[in-house]
């Protein structure tokens, strides 16, 4: 189906089902219950799940397939955001042209950066991309203020006059898709549960599915095989008469365009952008997402971005009182002791948990959470099946 083999098609179907039903799946706890804070089914967070999923999928096409570790990928996200923002300010509040411009602008930027950076590999490539990203950040922050709004960033203001749309007097402009407001939500009450279906989320989710489908096609194409050849042995590739540069450059530009798409979508959802989106910690975050989920796997990056965004928004909200509530069933002394132990890892300290999980993944599971899942699945399937799958997995490890 759709040019995919049955296994990949099944994966695509699963991802499609998960994203479409996300408002239900992410809201498993009834409103007002003690566990309600673990609900992630609100529009803002769901949008972030899929948008950063796109970002990580794109990063994975570069890092997962070719092994080039870019430490400046957030620059493309930022440039795409600025491009989309200006399109909305000047042309139309419709999101489609804005996103398209975001993709094009960051694609061109990625072409320029990639052309220069890909002359080196390994650590030098990482430093070069980092240097470019930091330069973009510094410029957006200072000199390019007329273009980027400097520290305050850009918003759609009532003084803006887009060519094709009008902003009502005294209101801020809202992004829309042919009149469908991105913030429009339909709320459904089912017993104690409250489910929110947000227009912006579904548009972002559909685009994410498309991006995911494209990445499967890239992974399975002869082009994807070439990229994997770059990773495993570039020298041998040269000796067979193939030049690796055009392939890696194409991968770099594609992954830059994915980042631009994510940036454009971010602007479409919250109609604002600031230079901090390009700071190198943002680049580090997408690296974390991809590695955590599993670099070189199809589903890994989406998984990783989901885990990190969930932790960032949910784990960080847990404070001491909530912990005391949870462990209230324990005797007092023990309760205080457990709370004292757990507290540094949640709330403001969620980065600590993230860092520890990340280190554990790099040390023990170089294939990320996906590899962990496979290992567990193998345990359950028993020994005979594991031997079979071992053989299979050695043949297709990088893409699995």
């Amino acid at each position: 189906m759709l040019g995919l083999d049955s296994k990949d098609f099944k994966l695509l179907l699963i991802v499609a089902a998960l994203t479409m039903l996300a408002p239900f799946i992410l809201n498993p706890f009834p409103e007002g219950s003690g566990m309600a804070q673990f609900n992630a089914g609100y529009p803002d967070l769901m949008q972030r799940f899929v948008i950063f999923g796109i970002f990580a999928i794109g990063f994975n096409i570069l890092f997962g397939l070719t092994g080039y570790l870019s430490f400046g990928h957030a620059a493309f996200l930022g440039v795409g955001s600025y491009g989309a923002m200006w399109m909305m300010k000047l042309f139309s509040l419709n999101v489609l042209p804005a996103i398209a411009v975001g993709i094009i602008v960051s694609g061109i930027f990625a072409l320029a950066v990639g052309y220069v950076s890909l002359r080196r590999s390994g650590i030098y490539f990482s430093i070069l991309t980092l240097a470019f990203a930091q330069m973009s950040y510094a410029l957006a922050y200072s000199v390019l203020t007329p273009l980027t709004g400097g520290e305050t960033g850009l918003q759609i203001k009532s003084t803006d006059n887009p060519l094709l749309s009008t902003i009502p007097e005294g209101e801020i402009g809202r992004a829309s898709l042919f009149g469908l407001d991105m913030r429009a939500s339909y709320e459904m009450n089912a017993g104690d549960w409250l489910f929110t279906f947000n227009a912006g989320y579904y548009i972002a989710a559909l685009i994410m599915l498309l991006a995911f489908y494209l990445s499967i096609r890239i992974f399975r194409s002869p082009f994807g095989t070439m990229l994997r050849a770059v990773k495993s042995n570039q020298t041998r590739m040269y000796y067979t008469g193939l030049n690796a540069r055009p392939y890696t450059l194409a991968a770099f530009v594609i992954s830059g365009m994915y980042a631009g798409l994510a940036g454009g979508l971010l602007v479409a959802m919250d109609t604002q952008v600031g230079p901090e989106r390009m700071f190198w910690t943002a680049s580090g975050e997408v690296v974390l997402m991809t590695i955590l989920g599993g670099a070189g796997t199809l589903i890994g990056p989406v998984l990783g971005s989901g885990v990190i965004k969930y932790m960032e928004n949910i784990l960080s909200k847990i404070n001491k009182d909530i912990l005391h509530e949870w462990f209230a069933f324990l005797p007092d002394g023990l309760e205080d002791f457990i709370v004292a132990i757990v507290y540094p890892f949640v709330g403001k300290g969620w980065h600590l948990t993230l860092g520890l999980i990340f280190m554990a993944v790099v040390i023990f599971l170089p294939g990320g959470l996906v590899q962990g899942g496979q290992k567990i699945a193998r345990l359950f399937r028993g020994k005979k099946a594991s031997e079979d799958s071992d053989e299979k997995s050695t043949q297709s490890t990088p893409a699995e």
């Binding site: 070069l128 240097a131 930091q134 510094a138 590695i291 300290g349 860092g355 280190m359 040390i363 170089p366």
Partner: protein, 343 residues
């Protein structure tokens, strides 16, 4: 003219910090071949050694001073640091005042220990893995270390002043025959520069003139052969990792009066230090030091008003720009050896 001298001076202290961190990074890379993204965190931990020591020194207990009363007529409670009890008030005050320089003595063993534990506990397992994995695991370690520090010390910068004697500024211009107050330079920055020079000189002397250093240099050139000669090179390299950590830590200790330490200062320095190492040449110790001072000075020149008028914003990007040019035209860096990490 005076503006130029001022910028050179300004560049020196920043350049000293770059040079010290880059020196440590290069020591680790040259000996163990590991790209250490956690090095900035070591710099930060060094700075927090100074914070810790000054907190330990000001630990106090409350005594009731019968001779003074508050406005209600009750005896006043006074916090008395323990050092007063041990050394008397005058000496105690002096010790607290000199907390930052004293932290050097405190930081050296602590940082050596952290370095050795880090190498034995974590980095050792990553020699055989690709550079990307080393970058990633040390990046994760850096996050963990800075979060631990944030947990214990909070997210705000902690002012840690230099000793009273060094708080003033030195009128450099008057000495050279300019008008007074044209070129003034804080004493502590001079101290920082001298300190950095001593440390750098010390490391080079250690590598150049001791038997231990000779073996390490031999190991850097050809690890296998040194091993075949029956020398336990791994243990020496572990110690070098500790030394590199100590250098980064000392750079951090002495930097605290210039910039109040906060938990993410290491990361801010790390990105620039990597650029410095690459410009100087991966694995070249003199290159790292030279590039550190060069780029520090360049950065301060770029932030001169006259330069900014011609090229606005150049001060923000000049280091990266230089790095890009160097990497593209001379990938082994200013003083890198031919063939080392040159691809």
């Amino acid at each position: 003219m005076e503006a130029i001298i001022l910028q050179i001076l300004n560049g020196l202290d920043k350049g000293s910090a770059y040079a010290l961190i880059a020196l440590g990074l290069t020591l680790i890379f040259g000996t163990l071949g590991v790209v250490n993204f956690a090095h900035g965190a070591l710099f930060m931990i060094g700075a927090f050694c100074a914070v810790t020591l000054s907190r330990i020194l000001t630990l106090s207990h409350t005594v009731i001073d019968e001779s003074k009363t508050d406005f209600l007529g009750n005896p006043l409670k006074v916090d008395v640091p323990y050092v007063y009890d041990f050394f008397g008030q005058a000496t105690g005050d002096a010790i607290i005042d000199w907390a930052v320089p004293l932290s050097i003595l405190f930081a050296i063993p602590v940082m050596m220990l952290i370095g050795v534990v880090m190498e034995r506990g974590l980095i050792k397992h990553f020699y055989k893995r690709p550079h990307a994995d080393q970058i990633l695991v040390t990046f994760g370690l850096a996050i963990v270390l800075q979060e631990v520090i944030k947990y214990f010390y909070g997210a705000n910068p902690i002012p840690t002043p230099a000793p009273e004697a060094f708080t003033g500024s030195f009128d450099f211009g008057a000495m050279l025959g300019f008008d007074p107050n044209m070129i003034i330079y804080p004493y502590w920055r001079i101290i920082y520069f001298i300190f950095a020079a001593i440390i750098i000189g010390g490391v080079f002397a250690f590598l150049q003139f001791t038997t231990f250093g000779m073996v390490v240099r031999a190991g850097m050139a050809d690890r296998e052969t040194v091993k075949l000669l029956g020398i336990n090179i791994d243990r020496r390299f572990t110690l070098m990792f500790g030394l590199a950590a100590a250098v980064a830590g000392l750079a951090g200790v002495m930097y605290t009066p210039i910039n109040s330490p906060n938990y993410h200062m290491g990361m801010d320095f790390l990105v620039l230090s990597f650029v410095v190492v690459v410009v100087g040449g991966m694995g070249s110790l003199p290159g790292a030091v030279l590039a550190g001072f060069l780029l520090g000075t360049l950065e301060s020149f770029a932030s001169m008003g006259a330069v900014l008028e011609v090229l606005p914003g150049i001060n923000q990007i000049v280091i990266y720009l230089v790095a890009i040019i160097i990497l593209l035209t001379r990938p082994r860096g200013l003083m890198g050896r031919k063939g080392v990490m040159e691809d």
